[in-house]
């Protein structure tokens, strides 16, 4: 969490919270929902995150990357308090997942044999894309959300997730393979061609 070093006055704290944190409230709520896949849990997670952010506001350097700082708190909160009770399919540990995929020469798990065409993707509905994304293991889903939906750079993602940049890169690569596979399977099952 970093050390409290700034010692802001109450007025400054309010100012930071209202002007630097609140602008990201929708993005935070979205992230919370996409991690928990549950509206009530997302609300609780957001609330907990905001309380923590305010409590530890002294360790936030005014004018720096508030969005990444807040996302990091939310993600840590999620891992500590929500992950265990979460009903999402992604219950596997980071390390376990990485080892599993690394066992195959560090390459993608399976070659994608299904012929997925970009026209097929273009014809898919938002719900279909969302379902494919949500069916992914939460660790892989997270990197896609951070990169594609929130536009974070690898360096920011490394800080949010507490992992080296190289791991961000390889996890994202695997996540994209998995997503592509899910979309291909889904397209095939729906008779898309």
């Amino acid at each position: 969490m970093g050390k409290a070093k700034n010692g802001y006055s109450d007025l400054e704290k309010r100012d930071i919270f209202n002007n630097e944190f609140m602008v990201h409230i929708d993005a935070l709520y979205n992230f919370a929902f996409k991690l928990t896949l549950d509206e009530d849990e997302a609300k609780d997670l957001l609330q907990d995150t905001c309380m923590k952010a305010f409590r530890f506001i002294d360790s936030f350097e005014k004018g720096t990357n508030a969005k990444a700082w807040l996302f990091r708190i939310l993600k840590n909160n999620f891992i500590n308090d929500y992950r265990k009770k979460s009903k999402t399919p992604g219950m596997v540990d980071y390390q376990e997942v990485e080892t599993y995929y690394n066992s195959e020469d560090g390459e993608s798990p399976v070659e994608i044999t299904t012929d997925l065409r970009s026209e097929t993707i273009k014809g898919m509905l938002g719900d279909e894309i969302t379902n494919a994304l949500n069916s992914m293991d939460v660790d892989f889903r997270t990197v896609i959300i951070l990169c594609d939906l929130e536009g974070f750079k690898y360096e920011e993602m490394a800080k949010i997730l507490d992992i080296p940049i190289g791991t961000v890169r390889s996890r994202l690569h695997r996540a994209r393979n998995i997503l592509k596979e899910k979309l291909a399977t889904y397209a095939a099952s729906m008779g898309y061609k």
């Binding site: 309010r14 919270f17 209202n18 609140m22 409230i25 929708d26 935070l28 709520y29 979205n30 929902f33 609300k43 957001l46 609330q47 905001c50 309380m51 305010f54 390459e107 993608s108 997925l116 065409r117 970009s118 993707i121 273009k122 898919m124 509905l125 938002g126 894309i129 969302t130 994304l133 896609i144 990169c147 594609d148 939906l149 750079k153 690898y154 890169r169 994202l172 690569h173 994209r176 997503l179 592509k180 979309l183």
Partner: protein
């Protein structure tokens, strides 16, 4: 760019041919689409997909999936009453 080559490849059934550097190219083009590739890496990808239909297809698909995730996945707005609740709790 490379339209003629792609037409040739498609017409003469070379499109399905494998590319020896497909995996490396896929990794690099993903970096490029994430705006994390170096200038050199981007240049390599552009030059390669200009003459390799297989990798061009990968590029096109990657780009499309990314756009679909960005534009089709629904974004939620935080319920206003939750914002009020949070602000009350923090005593703002």
């Amino acid at each position: 760019m490379g339209v003629f080559v792609r037409w040739l490849q498609r017409t003469f059934g070379m499109a399905k041919k494998t590319c020896p550097v497909e995996q490396e190219c896929l990794e690099l083009l993903r970096l490029m689409l994430d705006e994390q590739a170096t200038e050199e890496e981007s240049k390599y990808v552009h030059e390669h997909i200009d003459k390799c239909y297989r990798c061009y297809e990968n590029y096109d698909l990657e780009n499309t999936i990314r756009e679909a995730v960005k534009n089709k996945v629904k974004n939620l707005k935080v319920p206003p009453e939750l914002v009020t609740e949070i602000k009350n709790k923090i005593d703002l």
